[in-house]
């Protein structure tokens, strides 16, 4: 496929790996924030190719993984109501709640449907005026404009039997939490290319100044990430805490103005709890008052559903880059993609799932 295959050229990748190794005068600790980038790095073994030159620390950028248990429980409560059609992206249906997951709710009779786009959920509402269609609006800034558009269109069309259960998170406040930790080892960041396609990278320029670390916005293919890492290592060698853009084919400095406009019209910033991490100020999005009647948590009165996270797995430490997945005693034993204890083992973008899928167990057992 054009604009995909050429960025996976193995020979070009090897050349970039050699260049990174040549440039790095000492080992560098770099965090890739986005789960999609973690997936590429592990799948292609880039972390192993760079071993000794760059230590890749996997960040919290997997919305499925950080959706709080409470939201999953509320989703289960809403989905189980009569007349409700609960529409969701596929990767949410196996995230464990306090009592089962959405797939099990479906087996028990709930009408849970997997959709590709929030507008598919809106189309279901138009098609079934006698049903209440609820869409599970999860995601980072990349997904927020699409979810916002579904509400904006419902409002314009006067579709009343549609609502969304919002669990939106924002990347920059999570980076602050990581850098505010006195034990943080992170010396530079690969910033998320699709989040920045929407938001631009001004926020990251501020973070670079504030925390005195460089950022490089990168794409998702192996050559994108390798070039991004090389740019980052060069900045580190020059001791420059600035922000650069590798993913110039998609990312503009100020992002996508049309997308930001609808997103800001529908959503506003709020505090948010991240699964495994805890509350982070200003790290979430919620519906503005004008669109509050599209809020499924209010419509179905599930705001009283509360949940405490069990301390069964080390997801929080993995999501903050403090531990690698195979350092968990349950990894690959009690916790597998078939029987996940924590969300990072569920989502294909979760670090635990990526390690499980692409690492041989003997490697895992000996440590990386």
């Amino acid at each position: 496929m054009r604009y995909v295959d050429e960025y996976r050229d193995p020979r070009a990748a090897r050349r970039l790996v050699a260049e990174i190794r040549r440039t790095a005068t000492k080992p560098r600790q770099i965090m890739e924030v986005c789960g999609g980038q973690t997936h590429t790095l592990i799948r292609y073994g880039i972390d192993e190719l760079l071993s000794g030159a760059v230590d890749l620390i996997h960040g919290p950028g997997c919305p499925v993984c950080v959706t709080p248990l409470e939201k999953i429980d509320r989703a289960l409560a809403v989905a189980s109501r009569p007349r409700v059609v609960f529409a969701t992206f596929g990767d949410m249906v196996r995230v464990p709640g306090s009592d089962g997951d959405l797939l099990r709710a479906k087996a028990r009779g709930a009408d849970v449907r997997i959709v590709y786009s929030p507008t598919d959920a809106l189309a279901l509402a138009e098609k079934h005026p006698d049903r209440e269609v609820v869409f599970f609006a999860v995601g980072f800034e990349t997904t927020a404009p699409a979810n916002a558009m579904s509400v904006w269109m419902a409002d314009k069309k006067g579709i009343e039997n549609f609502s969304i259960l919002v669990s939106h998170v924002r990347v920059p406040p999570a980076i602050r939490i990581i850098m505010d930790d006195p034990y943080s080892q992170v010396q530079g960041f690969i910033a998320p290319g699709h989040v920045c396609s929407i938001m631009g990278y001004r926020e990251y320029e501020e973070l670079a100044r504030e925390y005195d670390v460089p950022f490089v916005v990168a794409g998702f293919e192996p050559l994108d990430l390798l070039q991004g890492l090389l740019m980052l290592v060069e900045l580190m060698e020059e001791d420059r805490a600035v922000t650069r853009n590798q993913y110039t084919r998609s990312v503009r400095p100020d992002g996508n103005p049309q997308a930001k406009k609808i997103m800001n019209e529908v959503f506003e910033i709020c505090g948010m709890t991240w699964r495994g991490i805890g509350p982070i100020a200003e790290s979430g999005l919620r519906l503005r008052d004008r669109f509050a009647h599209y809020d499924a948590e209010r419509r179905f009165d599930v705001e009283s559903v509360k949940a405490e996270e069990p301390a069964a797995c080390i997801a929080g430490a993995v999501l903050q880059g403090k531990k690698k997945p195979h350092e968990c005693e349950a990894f690959g034993k009690e916790c597998t993609p078939e029987h996940p204890l924590g969300a990072p083992m569920v989502s294909t973008e979760g670090a635990c799932s990526a390690y499980y899928a692409f690492r041989k167990f003997e490697d895992v057992d000996h440590g990386v």
């Binding site: 604009y3 404009p145 396609s197 049309q258």
Partner: protein, 86 residues
């Protein structure tokens, strides 16, 4: 989750509410995509699509920059600048 797939715009349509829609091809598969966030896009151009929405128009010149860079370092080190052709 933030998966974005590049696709070629085949057709642009303006529908109700000022929504821009269209058909986008992904390696032979054609899908309806909401193009409202890249309203200036024209057939033949590429967009990055996420959950049924275009999030950016792909800049074809910028898409070459990594290969230009590779050529540069290849030449600097006296390596084969063509890169991956053999």
């Amino acid at each position: 989750m933030c998966l974005g797939v590049p696709g070629k715009v085949l057709e642009v349509t303006h529908t109700e509410l000022g929504i821009t829609g269209g058909k986008v091809e992904f390696g032979g598969v054609v899908k309806e995509v909401n193009l409202s966030y890249t309203p200036e896009v024209e057939p033949g151009q590429y967009v990055i699509v996420h959950v049924g929405f275009s999030i950016s128009t792909l800049d074809e010149d910028e898409a070459q920059q990594v290969f230009r860079y590779l050529k540069e370092i290849g030449e600097l080190e006296g390596l084969d600048a063509a890169g991956g052709e053999d």
